[in-house]
């Protein structure tokens, strides 16, 4: 059983559309991270959310941590082809990162 469940598994949209991907768990976390992994590259940290109900914005990306700190969402506004990639959520226990399976996002021109 995955500690973190990500949905959907795949998402294909047209450039300019909005999208939301989800990361859910039955466990409570002190913090949660989102990464983006482009094809042929390693994951790159986008954001860390710490406080329940927290909303963080990174340009067109909006990250939200659930009030109960069990879930999180990533919303992309007006997606661009450069947003294509694998979006991973992860939690840290001391040094150890545990990742979800990711959502593969494809933005078509």
């Amino acid at each position: 059983t995955q500690l973190l469940e990500q949905s959907p598994q795949f998402l294909s949209i047209q450039e300019g559309e909005n999208l939301t991907v989800y990361c859910n768990s039955s466990s409570v976390f002190s913090s949660l991270q989102w990464y983006r992994q482009e094809p042929g590259e390693g994951p790159v940290l986008l954001v860390t959310v710490v406080t329940g109900g927290e909303v963080k914005k990174l340009k067109r990306l909006t990250f939200q941590f659930g009030d109960a700190r069990k879930d999180s969402s990533l919303h992309i506004t007006a997606a661009q082809t450069g947003d294509t990639g694998l979006y991973l959520c992860a939690v840290r226990n001391d040094y150890k990162l545990s990742f979800g399976a990711g959502t593969t996002v494809t933005v078509r021109a």
């Binding site: 590259e41 150890k96 990162l97 990742f99």
Partner: protein
């Protein structure tokens, strides 16, 4: 500043052959990690080094996998012999201490035929 460097980027071998992957972390990063990423999955930790010491190798399949970081800088991960199920991307990451951000290399994509 250079990021984490890995080589080779791609490797194709036949089953039962040995294979080795090399990683050079970001300069000054004392903590080094090797991860395995299967297709359609997130990375899973194989081993963590603090300087030259392997402080967590609990997830490393020791019957066929080995790793070393002799001088506490670059590291090598070896598989001998490789099996079909070892086909995956092997990622190296480094950080300055364990609480700071981990920076990932581009990975080595291994295909075992």
């Amino acid at each position: 500043e250079a990021g984490v460097v890995q080589s080779p980027r791609y490797k194709i071998i036949e089953k039962k052959q040995p294979v080795a992957f090399w990683c050079n972390p970001i300069s000054g990063h004392n903590t080094l990690y090797w991860y395995l990423q299967n297709l359609g999955q997130g990375p899973e930790l194989l081993i963590r080094y603090e300087n030259e010491e392997a402080v967590d190798d609990s997830q490393l399949p020791k019957d066929r996998f080995s790793a070393e970081r002799l001088k506490g800088v670059d590291s090598t991960l070896k598989i001998q012999p490789a099996e079909l199920g070892d086909s995956a991307v092997y990622l190296c990451a480094s950080s300055l201490g364990t609480i700071n951000e981990q920076f990932f290399g581009p990975g080595t994509r291994l295909t075992v035929l």
